[in-house]
Amino acid sequence: MALNRRQFLTLMGGSAGAAVFFQACGIPEKELLIDSPIEMPEDLVTGIDNWYATSCRQCDTAEGIVVRVMEGRAKKIEGNVDYPINVGKHSPRCEAGVQGLYHPDRISSPLVRTGPRGSGEYREISWEDAIGRLTNELQNLEASGDQSQAVLVTNPIGGHLGLVADKFADVFGARRFTYEPLETSVVRKALSDVFGQNSMPDFDIDNSDYLLSFGADFLSTWASPTRYSRGYGEFRQGHDHRGKLVHIDSRFSTTAANADEWIRVNPGTEGLFALAVIQSIVSKGHISDSVVNALTGGDSGWLSTYSPENVSEEIGVTPETILHVGEDFSHSNHALAIGGGSAAAHSNGYASVKAIFSLNHVADNVGKKGGVILNPDSPIGGLEAAPSGNSFAEFQRLTEDMQSGTVKVLMVRGADLFYGLPDTSGFKGRSANVPMIVSFGGMMDDTTSMADLILPEHHYLEDWGTDIPLAGVGYELVGFQQPVVRPFFEDRGDNLGTKGFGDVLLALAQVMQMDLGLNADTFKEVIRESARELYALGRGSINAPTFEAFWNGVLQRGGWWDVNAKGPSSAEPDRLDGISSPVITGSGEFNLMPFASASLLDGRNASLPWMQAMPDPISTATWQTWVEMNHKVAEERGIKEGDVVTVSASGRSITALAMPNPATPPDAVSIPFGQGHRDGGRYSAGRGGNLMAILDAVHDETTGALAWAANKVSVTPTGEWVRVPKFENTVPDFPRDEHNHVIELTSEDTH
């Protein structure tokens, strides 16, 4: 049949239209199929949901979670009601674990670099090959006796994974570093000196009636927020008497927003405030002589240098404010003081935090209801909570070693050094002198994308583990992490896909014929063997006739604990020292007060869309890096919300979106950590600014930790404007008049 052009077009149009049209009537083909699997394990049965207990690894505190698994897929995460730390509750970050598990940008097999570093050009190789390449490098070092030129850097890991990593580094002779961007070493060291304990104690906020907190955003990001929030709920409305929360901070944080009173102090003077409170209480004699002697070293004379009158000007408050807090603190039945966060991130951080926590000795609340509850040692010998990170000063020395060529193999796990180390460390440039960078990252991040060899690890929902809590609950507790789903890349076969970090280290040790002294071939076996020690104790939450039953019980409940195995009930106060004035660098007119993002934290959760889309409690902004500044100051400078501004500190700068609010002090700006990743999957790469990079190298005098709150910055508008992505509208949320509150309030102090 011959068609002319017109006929052809008519027919084509008609049939295309019909095709489009009737397409709509169809049902997608896959919905018309049902799979009959080969075998049907319990968790694959259609429509049945199973909840498996494991540990969450989204924050530093491993909360007990249960994961809903249907047809072999993790659907939902909820808190484990049995688990002592969070008792069924969880932080906003926990739920996003499933997005990490099913993230579209996960690495599905070992990779070797084919292009220049940072180009993102990689080739898939088998695990055998990958492990061969790494052992080859390590054995070369071994042959020349330069084992210490291998460096293993991880995030703070405790439990069995920490044990295996430590042993591996130790037996091989590699240098072992622990990296955390927002260091806890200051707080950890101060706590161990004040309470004589390495682990963090528990704070019985539930039963406290006067809570004095310094800098620590404990309701949002600091240490164990879910545990503290649980306590906070009870503190507010769980008793006849509603507790009073006074927050002393240089920034208006989530905790400040929830406090009955927010006392704004100059950056770095939180410790001075605490010391002045101690002085005021000592001078009034509301405290036993033995505590005074222990705190002051026998001669309390020096303390008067820190009397409210003497220091109030430096702190930026009136002496009456300090005296008032001192009065309330000493007259409360269950006063409690906690601190950290920005209070610890100054050159005087250690001394400050020490003074803050020593207030608990003043209140004599150690081991008492509503006070500081000390933790016992780990029930399994050799198994510890995650250590605090090596200090920034130590990392600076490491980069110097990299410069001098004495770092040959850099192995990195869960530590995004290229992202988190400030530019002043020179780490990025000096990494060029490291011949081999190996990453165990399961997803691209700024460090993994610079690696020569990538050995992708399982997501934590696919892997084994244990956890001794960083901040325990006052009795012995071991959290157990088990795989709740089969590895997502299982179908890629044994020689591709992902593997657990612990298993890879064991495999490396096996290939290199190193004896780690663990008597087990797999990481699961390592944990199981240790669990026998717990079983042998014959006490605690799981009572079982056989070890097999005990093991099942532990996995079912997500851990083992013994409420009767408590920590010490008292601690000796440690002598306090004077507190120096904080070193603040930079020439800008604003104090920079960085803070950990409520969802992204230090940036580790930036790849997850739910976390990116979670509104910040204070600014309500999402997906971006913003600068909180005082709304009047902004108005004077002609800056409005969404104006793109350059924030510069000592020559380095980032851009961010201005977000004026009425709570930011006029002399300060606040910027969240967490954005500005060069790599990290489709949801975070190239988004926002990396605040970490521009910080000056100021150290805490005692520990060498990075003092990240000690910068002054200038803010200059670029003339551009970008809409701030946020849920709320642009109408300012001010009450219409002073007596008409936007949400309803009562002054009634009743239950």
């Binding site: 999402t622 949400i743 309803e744 009634e748």
Partner: protein, 252 residues
């Protein structure tokens, strides 16, 4: 099934406990197959959050307060969204739920205009997930398509599932059971949210409601409803924030 129809679901929100952490928001996204809210969705004011935390400022530095209030569908007893729907896609059921029927909805958006709480959301796009993230979707909840409204359902899928499983196993599902409670309630770290049956006098919510509403307007009673003067008869009761600096001022 008979007893399930005598129930009337409600929630009590204690603002004095709420810290504004957004835990409920993420829990809800996870449970209810809410599409990922990307940056452009926020910028177009088309992001979907069945529950949100509103933050209000009061005062100015240094005497400044931020107030948080979680707002979800109030499941009004006298709902402004219901009579305006031309196709009865939203209606009140016997359990006190304001139900949104996705397959009836034709997307007029009248209900969203009628709702004074701004808790109804329109799907302006076909929801999209990367293939692998679809593994997370909850099979108990419909994935809404473009052109229909959606809103908080008090996690009706959990109510249905737990009730049915209770009947199957011949156990009574108690108020406060985690299989029954909405995802936000289970998540809330400070227990600011309590969910249960208002028709059961011994349930925790009933007792809280009674105590809170008994002395309404007086100093002792902390209970109130959002925009109560509109007569929506909301089934979500709020407990006032206690603020010692608020003086004698309390509401209207």
């Amino acid at each position: 099934m008979a007893d399930s129809q005598d129930r009337k679901w409600g929630m009590v929100v204690d603002i004095d406990r709420c810290t504004g952490c957004n835990g409920c928001v993420v829990a809800c996204q996870s449970e209810n197959n809410i599409p990922n809210n990307l940056e452009e969705h926020f910028n177009q004011r088309r992001a979907i959050q069945w529950i949100r935390i509103e933050r209000y400022w009061e005062g100015e530095y240094p005497n400044v307060k931020a107030r948080f209030i979680p707002v979800m569908c109030q499941q009004c007893g006298n709902a402004p969204c219901e009579p305006v729907c031309p196709v009865y896609a939203t209606y009140h059921n016997e359990e006190g739920l304001n139900v949104q029927v996705y397959n009836r909805c034709i997307g007029t958006r009248f209900c969203a205009n009628g709702c004074p709480y701004h808790v109804r959301f329109f799907n302006f796009w076909e929801p999209e997930w990367p293939e692998s993230l679809k593994n997370q979707l909850n099979p108990d909840v419909t994935v809404r398509s473009r052109g229909i409204m959606e809103k908080c359902s008090f996690c009706v899928q959990r109510i249905r599932r737990s009730t049915r499983e209770g009947e199957r196993d011949e156990v009574q599902v108690e108020d406060g059971d985690r299989a029954l409670s909405p995802a936000c309630v289970n998540a809330c770290p400070t227990t600011a949210l309590t969910f249960g049956d208002f028709n059961n006098d011994s349930s925790q919510v009933s007792m809280m409601k009674e105590e809170a509403m008994a002395n309404r307007g007086k100093k002792e009673g902390r209970g109130y409803r959002l925009l109560d003067n509109l007569g929506t008869e909301a089934n979500v009761i709020y407990l006032k924030k206690v603020d010692n600096s608020a003086g004698a001022v309390h509401g209207h």
